[in-house]
Every structure is written in C-alpha cells, then in structure tokens.
Assembly symmetry: C2
Homo-oligomer: 250 residues x 2
Amino acid sequence: MQRYFLETPITNQPGQTFELTGTAVHHWLTVMRAQPGDQAEFVTTAQQVVIGTLKTTTDKTATVEVVSVTTPKVELPTPVIIACGVSKGDKTEQIVQRGTELGAAGFVFFDCQYAVAKWAPNKRDRKLARLTKIAQSAAEQSHRTMIPTVTYQPDLATLVAEVPHTAGVVAWEESAKQGESSQLVQTLRQLPVGDQLLAIFGPEGGLTPAEIDTLTAAGVKPAGLGPRIMRAETAPLYLLSAVSFWRELV
Amino acid sequence: MQRYFLETPITNQPGQTFELTGTAVHHWLTVMRAQPGDQAEFVTTAQQVVIGTLKTTTDKTATVEVVSVTTPKVELPTPVIIACGVSKGDKTEQIVQRGTELGAAGFVFFDCQYAVAKWAPNKRDRKLARLTKIAQSAAEQSHRTMIPTVTYQPDLATLVAEVPHTAGVVAWEESAKQGESSQLVQTLRQLPVGDQLLAIFGPEGGLTPAEIDTLTAAGVKPAGLGPRIMRAETAPLYLLSAVSFWRELV
C-alpha cells in the first residue's frame, strides 16, 4: 500500500475525515490515479500509521476517512545521527538513502580539511532540500514513521556543539589498526535507551589528527568498526546495522 | 601502498625474490609506473601479506624482493556466503562491491520465481567474470587477504545442496512482520567459529512461500533483520555488518 507522510496534525479517530495536504495530494491523485474507495497509509506527525480511504476528491483536493490507527515500533530504540564529511557525486545521496532504510534519525554533512567537495553557500539549501526528499522517499519505502533530518555544519567544532547527543563516536581507521575493537560496544552498553548517539565519519581522505583531537576534546570517542577498510559511504551503514542488531535483535 | 593478490604460491622468506605474474605486472609497471626500489603489498595464496621491493624489471616482467611477511587477521571469523536473487542493473555489482568491503567470503546469485532479471546462459560467464573483478578490486581496497568467490545457481534447491554451510538463514519480511527478532542471534550463537554461514536474500519481488518451504525443508531458518523494510541490496550489508559486530567487536 502507498505510504505518505502527513505534514500537519490530523484528528485520527476511525470514521473521522481529514483533508490531505502537501505533495501527497498530487502524488496520490495524479501519479497513482487514486479513486474514491482506494486506500493508502498515512504517517501522522505523531508517528502513528493511519489507514485511510479516499472519500471525495476534486483534481486538487482529497478528503480521507480514517479506517484504522496503529503505532508500529519501527524506529531504532537508539536514535542515531550520522555525520559525514561532504562527498562528491552521488555518495551523499547513497548515505542518506541507505542510512534511512537502516534507521538513521538524521544526517549532518560537514566541511573539513580533507573534504573532497565543497558545498557552495548558494547551493547548500538546494542540496539539503534534495537530500531531504531522498530521505522522505526512502522513509516511505522502508516503512519508517519519521523522516530523518538532513542538515549542514561548517566544521566539526560547531557540529559537536550544535547536534544534541548523549554519546558520540568517530570512526577512525587508526583505532582499527591499533586493534581497538570495544569502544563502540562500550558506548552502546553505557548509552541509556532513547538517548541520541552521534556517529561521525570522515570524508574519503579521512580526518586530520587535529580534527580527531577537536572531537575527543568534546568527549567523542574514536571507535574501530572491525579490521577491514571501508569506504566513506559504507562505514555509516555498518554502524547503523550494528546498532539495530544490538538494540533490536540481541 | 598499492596491494595486489598473487595468483600462484611464492617463497616468502625476507631477502628472497619472486617473479610477479598475471594482471598485477601490467598494473604495477604500466599503470602505476613502478620503478626499481618502489614497494607494494602482495597477498599470497596463503593469505599472508608480503611487502616487496621491485628489484629489476623489463616492460613486461617484474622481479620482487620480499621485505617482510605478516599474517593479518582481517577476515570474518564466521565465513559468510551471501546468496541473492538475480537483480537488474548495477545492484549485483553494488552487493559484491560493498559486501566484499564488509567481509563476505563469497557471493551466489540465483534464479527464482520473482527474479526481476534473467542471466542468459551465454552471458553468465561474462557476468561472473565482471563481478569477480569487482570483488578483487574491492578486496584490494579494503585490505582483505582473500578474494570472495562469485558463482551462479539455477535455483534454491540446487543452491542449498551445492553451497557448503553449517547453518543457513533466509531474510524473510514475514518473519520481521511477525516480530521474530532472535533467529539470527540464535544461529550465530550456535554456529562454531570458523564454520560457514549461508545467508539467502530474495530479489526485489521477494521469495514465494514455496521457495521459503524449499529452504526451511533444507534446514535454512527464516530470520528477521529488524522492523524496517530494506531493499534487496541493503539487507546483505546489514547481515554482514551484524556478523562482524557480533564476532569482531562484542
């Protein structure tokens, strides 16, 4: 069944109706050619899932009747913010798309010394808007009940100051080389369920020792993610999978 | 440092020399323009890593002196074979590339009822050769000491009969919907370290109930991978990350 995120709160008692607003109207009516009687899933701003039936429609409006309301548990018990160095090409898009499937609560892209791309200030908003759209689409497909946020930070010091988190880790190749293999586990064990984890990943060229120092001074722990070298866009997927496995399966 | 997989055994005592053979010669000499005195890493057929110095060269031959020999532990303690339904486009390539970074021991692509693509028999060898090349390149970049195998099986019954494994799991959406969340953990707990895990993933269209029956009759366990719906090419990455986290970090 097609799934849409609602942009405004609705009354969600079965039998009541609401007016569908925003981009969902166009997609459901024009792209999917919905007819009265057709059903879709609507995720409310309160992270509930409403199954609704199209009652009446003009070309541009849709009145939907609430059939049922559920509150599925599909979000990671540990909200994870994935912070990555700005990358070239479609790498940022891949991180957002796959990371959303794997449950990320949000993404932050940051500038740093070895960033292989720059986001010009005048293009930044457009890039963030495009990535947010990718997050929304991936959230719909993976049956999430929230759309991950996508933001930008100019440097790591600002990032750790601005992004709320109870614990932070930075994936660091040198940690892995030194055989460090327990920091991520230790962090997850100590982090109260529901508290936010900030996970930081360098760009292809890596982070500088000075940048690592900035992070450790702010309480972020360097953590190895196993003995193999992963590309910049693969490491965040490893971390999200590990958090899901640990919090949702073990 | 550039890394090459050797195709034949060498004597690997420091100070001894060997003739480099195969595609590595061309790449090192012509693409990388190596000169006498330059060094590279060579992974032996015994999964050791040799640092070697180019001693003498003609355009097409390279004599290399062994400088040092190490036996790094970079392979997953639980070898995992990732079996996926044949997919369209670059999805198979993405599975092989990222799965290799994440430590897969091998990949099997299989035909099934809802496969969204077919591998014509006359093109199969070419596809497997291309995917093997992608696996080799990813293995070099991620500092693996083996190149994952890439094979094809015509159906699931043949696959479970032909691919050696001590335990098998199949990612099944219905398992996740029913709230099953412990089968993967249980399988990993019971699997002796070093024994091979076969992990099976349907194509985009999923597996049929009859195909699931075939697998369960062969002892393969349906396993949920958390409450979110993942695309066909994302689920194998989740599983490999989970196995690494469990066996290498926890």
